[in-house]
Symmetry: C2
Subunit: 497 residues, 2 copies
């Protein structure tokens, strides 16, 4: 039985993936400094076995044979996603992948060395090589998947997302934000003039911050029987659905950055913990993709944890753990801090209003690079033009705060950037749909009761695994395709004049 | 080149072993309760791939061909140990191993259920099945390895250890201890009459105990760049040589048990961290075996950390971390605590003097069971006879404190018990050899300087990996085969009248 063979293969691949996920998290959280070389060797061994097992040629025959054995819709869905993953994994020749891996490794090393001194000239040649190989990759993927090249790259991260659908949405959003940003800054200025931002001074012990993060993550729905909260250099969510490894980092002079990271990562974690339990070893039981994943973390962070309803409940929790420093704070004081809008050069430091402008800039440059309309040497000037146009900030001769700030391109990840802003828009649209279905849901938040919210998200998104493409899942969850309006309304309500 | 194939195979097996070791440690230290089922599946997948890779039939051909390619002593040693491991791994048919694994899993479940209520009648049938299969296993191993059945079992844990050598050593030790124990207890009584045991009362915060353990482990030689100290239900040393995961457990009403566990595990860790770095992926770069490993942990615990020389340095460290509670304590006060001798029914709670009697009892019963001289149904009575003879304590109708106390037999580990006491004896003999080579080494300990001690152990044992059998390594390290006299002299000097 070919079905049986595939099922056993899925068990094996799940086991290997489990090992890789836990070891990855362990490396970032627990591994001592001297453990790195042997760990890298072990990870390479696992990755080799994983890839060899997943892409074995006979698997193609099993898939074809299993298609004739199917006798349920559940099997059809599982097999369809298995086939999609297999096609995406096998569309590049092994020799090409090896060459690409070597180039990316070298490129990452050069980037790490050149970035601190903003040495674009040193970085450029290796980035040119990465782009050349990515163009080749996109062409090969496009050929086999029957997609346009940039679509074929996005397909790895968000199956079903297409330039033809995203372009108008991003174009509209960019136009909106260009008008809206000055308005939002003006409104903020007026608000802060009438009620000044209260300085958040104090020393906040790590134990207290940890207890605060744990209590809020638990309240939001993080299941600590199937996960942990630890510390790492950059916050992330790793591990496996039954054993999530979520992290944050602490500064004793500020607690909001750490707390917001915890609430953001909790969204990723809830998605993973809420995935289907039956047939969990098949790929259609996995999370849909990067944009949908980001929509879950941003749902927590932007739609819940930066709202006045949340802080109506959360302020008491904050006081309980942060003590006397916040005794006379109001919800408005906290909101002023968490929703501060500021123009800046760095994407990862950007707020909810300016962040999409950073993403759209990269999306436009990526697309043009892949299409051969521009070359790597053109990037600094184009970057500067776009930053000046969107945020009024120049980055000419400032590569470290310009095109060298992100790890993505040096690591060969093209087609990934849109996921961030698509996720933010999807979260806003999900929030609006939730509001339609449960009009009094804001009252739940004010009481710190997230059970109905989570039940809705579980039904509409988490339990659906990868049975649908990203756009299909949005229609299933919200009743309509992705539209920029919901995100715009959300920004207007929160930051408008 | 067959050598090249074996070398690549060693890299692969090392990577898989690395993953299994870190995941094992993670499970005991960090994994949340709900992560167990999927973790077990992942571990089974890794174990399956590991076993399949390690025992592939073509490997036998590579070994044979590589023997003709050897052109150095280093290669000869590596290949010899590789062949030994391969023979030990392949001497049981796959179907038999599967049957044995199922039986052991069932037996462990029954033991866990029956043990708390001491239900020997419930446990007996499944233990009989385990013993029956172990007799089969021993016969098969014996046939292929050309050894006696019990020797073939011990060969898995301590290559080269033979009943013919151990029997006279254990017989002599048992006779010695039977005479010596009353004398030691009498001497202790006299000492405590003239200087009463000072009650160790107080509350010792976990942070202080951790800082104490870390400082002493580091001083002894634990390399925290290549390892960590964490908490688990039972202390253990896991991980890999470049990334050791050592654990202890804490009670806030007592610090000595935790500290002693840390110093014990530090010995295991130092052995692993001191193994050969060149060719570290070959099996002859691994630790020699269970008895040698235990000799390293007991060297730390018994030969160093329970000596007055150690506490001449250690008392100040103790005071620093445990504070005012110990302000007026002397070395003698600490020594009285760490070297207390007491008769008891439970092996794992036993002290240095009585522990070997527990082990020899099990060794004698195991051997007789394997030889078919006794049956499982005879165990409770024999156990009671031997406990009465050696410690004057009866266990009849008390299986929970008698033959059901250990996990080993229910898990199918026969031939392992001798390692504990052989390790204690080896440590004493190593300590005597060290004293011959460096007569003033006690002065180093008094200063908390363990560098010459560790250099000696590194040269004589750690760096030797598995290039020699256990008895050969003892001769290499100490100049003579294992003799009971050194351990006896050690006990007489420490506990005698």
């Amino acid at each position: 039985m070919s079905w049986q063979k595939l099922d056993e293969l899925c068990v094996k691949l799940e086991g290997l993936g489990h090992a890789e996920a836990i070891l990855d998290a362990d490396e970032a959280i627990f591994m001592p400094v001297g453990g790195g070389d042997k760990r890298a060797e072990a990870m390479a061994v696992l990755a080799g076995i994983h890839h060899e097992t997943a892409t074995a040629p006979e698997v193609a025959d099993w898939i074809a044979a299993a298609e004739r054995e199917i006798d349920s819709e559940a099997q059809r869905l599982a097999l369809a996603e298995f086939g999609r993953v297999y096609r995406n994994m096998t569309c590049l020749p092994t020799a090409f992948v090896r060459r690409q891996t070597e180039t990316r490794t070298k490129s990452m090393q050069v980037w790490r060395e050149a970035r601190p001194r903003g040495d674009w000239t040193f970085f450029r040649p290796v980035l040119e090589e990465v782009v050349r190989l990515t163009r080749e990759e996109a062409a090969m993927r496009a050929e086999i998947l029957g997609l346009a090249p940039y679509d074929a790259l996005m397909e790895q991260y968000d199956p079903g997302n297409r330039v033809a659908d995203i372009d108008p949405v991003f174009e509209r959003l960019r136009a909106f934000l260009t008008d809206f940003l000055p308005e939002a800054l003006e409104a903020q200025k007026r608000r802060l003039a009438s009620r000044a931002l209260r300085p958040l001074k104090g020393t906040f012990p790590v134990e207290n911050q940890t207890a605060l993060g744990v209590e809020m993550a638990r309240a939001l729905g993080f299941d600590f029987d199937h996960g942990r909260l630890d510390v790492s250099h950059h916050p992330f969510t790793g591990g496996v659905p039954t054993d999530i490894r979520m992290t944050t980092r602490y500064r004793t002079d500020a607690f909001l950055p750490s707390l917001m990271a915890v609430l953001h990562e909790t969204g990723h974690a809830q998605y993973e913990q809420g995935l289907p339990k039956t047939g969990a070893h098949w790929p259609n039981a996995r999370a849909r993709g990067m944009a949908m994943h980001e929509s879950q973390s941003l749902f927590n962070e932007m739609q819940i944890a930066r709202s006045p309803e949340f802080w109506a409940w959360g302020l008491a929790i904050l006081r309980k753990h942060m003590g006397i420093e916040l005794a006379d704070w109001t919800v408005d004081d906290v909101i002023a801090h968490v929703n501060l809008v500021e123009k800046g050069l760095i994407r990862v430091d950007a707020d909810e209003v300016t962040y999409p402008l950073h993403v759209i800039l990269r999306y436009e440059i990526e697309k043009a690079l892949l299409a051969g309309e521009i070359e790597v040497r053109d990037i600094p000037e184009i970057w500067d033009d776009k930053m000046t146009a969107s945020l009024g900030l120049s980055t000419i001769d400032d590569a470290v705060n310009g095109p060298m700030q992100d790890v993505h391109w040096s690591g060969g990840s093209f087609g990934y950037f849109p996921s961030y802003t698509l996720g933010a828009m999807m979260a806003a649209q999900q929030r609006a749909a939730l509001q339609r279905d449960l009009p009094d849901i804001g009252e739940d938040m004010k009481k710190g009761d997230f059970s109905r919210i989570n039940a809705w998200r579980a039904e509409k998104i988490w339990s659906q695994g990868s049975n649908r493409s990203t756009p299909e899942l949005m229609v299933f969850a919200t009743g309509e395709p992705l539209r920029a309006e919901y995100f715009e309304s959300h920004l207007k309500a929160r930051y408008g004049g």
